[in-house]
């Protein structure tokens, strides 16, 4: 097999402490980059604001799914007890909703929780097992307690010299190009 041609898909700056990373993130945002990210071993407080991230849509998704669950529970219990197979017991109403409240609650929670799990996978872009970060060994340094800023080459502002200059300006001493082999290329980091 021939050596696959490699191309630079981004530039990585590695930092040793979260405070410097946070200042650097604010600088990158001010410089106008849009396709970039910070990678950290644990969630760093205040980094969302430094990066200018919008509020996560997860709560809205969960709430919507929860109400779908509630609706499903109402249809399930009421539909089966009052319409599909009505049996009157002890003179009680067929649609005796107070007796169904536990099921309403449980299905609300279940649907919302499934939606949250689904949102984690979709919004956090999980389920993609290959990334140049893994291949280059940079991920290993991040989980081993370092902090990284990744500037993607796909960003229209990106040029290797400017990006390198920007990272150096933020006090980064460990800057590396991020290389991806073309055969695996799906333009996502």
């Amino acid at each position: 097999m021939a050596e696959p041609s490699a191309k630079t898909v981004g530039l990585v700056g590695l930092y040793d402490d979260p405070a410097t990373l946070q200042r650097a993130a604010a600088r990158v945002r001010e410089a106008g980059y849009t396709k970039w990210d910070c990678h950290t071993p644990y969630p760093v407080h205040g980094l969302d604001r430094a990066m200018g991230l919008k509020a996560s849509p997860v709560p809205a998704v969960a709430l919507t799914a929860g109400f779908f669950g509630l609706l499903a529970a109402i249809v399930l219990t009421g539909g089966l007890s009052a319409i599909h197979y009505p049996i009157r017991i002890g003179g009680k109403p067929l649609f005796s909703w107070p007796a169904f409240v536990p099921i309403y609650f449980e299905l609300f929670v279940l649907f919302a929780a499934l939606a949250i799990m689904g949102s984690i996978i979709v919004f956090c872009r999980l389920g993609r097992w290959h990334s140049p970060l893994h291949d280059s060994g940079i991920m290993k340094e991040i989980t081993g307690a370092r902090f990284a800023i990744v500037l993607e080459a796909a960003d229209e502002r990106f040029s290797e010299q400017d990006a390198r200059a920007l990272l150096e300006e933020t006090g980064c001493h460990d800057i590396r190009p991020l290389v991806q082999h073309e055969e695996k290329d799906d333009a996502i980091i």
Binding site: V44, D48, S56, F100, P102, I103, V109, I120, L133
Partner: protein, 459 residues
């Protein structure tokens, strides 16, 4: 009135100075080394116990539940006692992971993962008993889950037993998802630390390709918070609904409104006792005393004594209500509990759950693993007996004295209960071997904060 500032200062969460790399070494180290002979000995023992479960299950299935000790007035015997016991054990895990998270209790990070794992394994054990006690467990799914069928006959959604199906299965699933969500970043660390390709492959798959991206963390933290928010009412609902199995009936001794809060307090009480019982061994086995410190034990003990008093209050209140109701049957059931043929069980329960935990008022006992250990063991015993007392003493002398009988468990009953411990402990030992027992990522946030740099809100 001015508060003493040292009382408000948070207790130290680690006894030694730990940096992030040392933390990784301590938490992931035991997973990466070859299991010690002690671990092999332990899993051989618990595996043997689980074998007893399999044998007793086979006997139950082949010969029927006539092999159990259940008799005519006591139709709910050990199966339901064990079910309520195991579901209750799980509650501490959810309390620690969800409710203490919402209250921003930092100390939960050290014990949360272990307690959550315990929750899931306890729910697995709990689910066995109602399934087996149907007699034909392979058909139970059709009886429990509403599925479209040709007969057009469906479950009775007004029955607390059907509520239970929804409550326990939702609880099991949500606990599993919550636990797995917490594991993802830690599995990614395990992946990146792995030396062997197979290890890297397995943890790589399990970590779903986690890259620690802050755009991901932003969603992740919100999702984690929501899981905690959902699990909090969920955990309170589950044992409430389990208590409805009893409270919605008309049996004297069961038909009381105090049952839901009484059951929830008891569940948290027993769950914390179980966490303490197991985590003391675990931290010793894997040398994690600097991460699961005596401060953690003391805080758990404070919750144990608080819930012990709630449970004690409920015991007293049940007697008061029986007397105050003026109902002859109610009064008789409670007198019979304390003075009748099962008085030994009642007083075992009362002494283990109310009197013994009073020793935890002493700081020395709260902070010494060796001294508190017998106490938490007795709480576990007492809480099992609480369920036994509730189920058996309310049934064994029913309305008609000619049908009164004394319930004795059969060998198969005992084997199933002992065997369920085998399943529980085997799963726990496998967990300790293959997954990070401490939520490393969450502890990192706490450690980073104590170093003065900015940590996340996650923890």
């Amino acid at each position: 009135m001015s508060a003493n500032p040292s009382l408000l200062a948070p207790a130290a969460l680690t006894t030694e100075e730990v940096d992030l790399r040392r933390l990784d070494r301590d938490i992931y180290g035991p997973m990466e080394a070859f299991p010690t002979y002690r671990w092999w000995a332990a899993i051989l023992l618990t595996g043997g116990l689980a074998g007893i479960f399999v044998v007793c299950l086979a006997v139950t299935v082949l010969r029927g539940i006539g092999t159990w000790g259940n008799n005519v007035p006591v139709g709910w015997g050990w199966a339901i006692v064990n079910f309520v016991f195991w579901v209750g054990i799980g509650h501490a895990g959810t309390l620690i992971s969800a409710i203490l998270f919402l209250f921003r209790q930092r100390w939960r990070t050290g014990i949360a993962r272990f307690a959550e794992a315990m929750t899931i394994f306890a729910v697995i054990c709990a689910m066995q008993f109602p399934l087996i006690h149907t007699g034909r467990p392979w058909l139970a799914m059709f009886w429990l889950i509403p599925y479209p069928n040709d007969m057009g006959v469906y479950q009775n959604f007004r029955s607390p037993l059907e509520w239970d199906v929804f409550a326990v299965s939702t609880y099991g699933l949500v606990s599993l998802m919550f636990w797995y969500t917490g594991l993802i970043p830690d599995l990614a660390t395990a992946r990146d630390r792995a030396g062997h390709w197979f290890r890297k492959f397995v943890y790589g798959i399990l970590s779903l390709g986690w890259r620690g991206s802050n755009r991901a963390w932003s969603h992740y933290e919100k999702a984690y918070l929501l899981f905690a928010g959902l699990s909090t009412p969920l955990v309170l609902s589950v044992h409430s609904i389990v208590s409805f199995d009893f409270a919605v009936s008309v049996i004297p001794g069961w038909h009381t409104t105090i049952f839901p809060p009484y059951f929830v307090a008891g569940a948290i009480f027993s769950g914390f006792a179980m966490v303490a019982t197991l985590i003391i061994i675990m931290r010793k086995m894997f040398r994690l005393q600097h991460l699961i410190t005596d401060n953690h034990l003391e805080l758990m003990n404070k919750i144990i004594i608080a819930t012990s008093m709630m449970v004690g209050y409920s015991y007293a209140m049940e007697f008061f209500t029986a007397w105050y109701s003026g109902v002859a049957y109610e009064r008789y059931v409670f007198l019979n509990r304390a003075l009748g043929p099962y008085a030994w069980a009642y007083w075992t329960m009362a002494i283990c759950n109310v009197l013994v935990p009073q020793l935890l008022w002493f700081k020395k006992i709260r902070r010494t693993a060796l001294l508190m250990y017998p106490i938490v063991i007795l709480v576990n015993v007492g809480m099992w007996f609480e369920r036994f007392v509730i189920v058996v003493t309310s049934l064994h002398r029913d309305f008609l004295p000619t049908s009164w009988d004394y319930f004795r468990p059969s060998l198969i009953d005992i084997g199933l209960f002992v065997g369920s411990w085998g399943i529980f402990l085997t799963l726990l030992l496998l967990f300790c071997r293959f997954l990070p027992t401490i939520a490393a990522t969450e502890v990192k946030v706490v450690v980073a904060e104590s170093h003065g740099s900015h940590g996340g809100q996650h923890g």
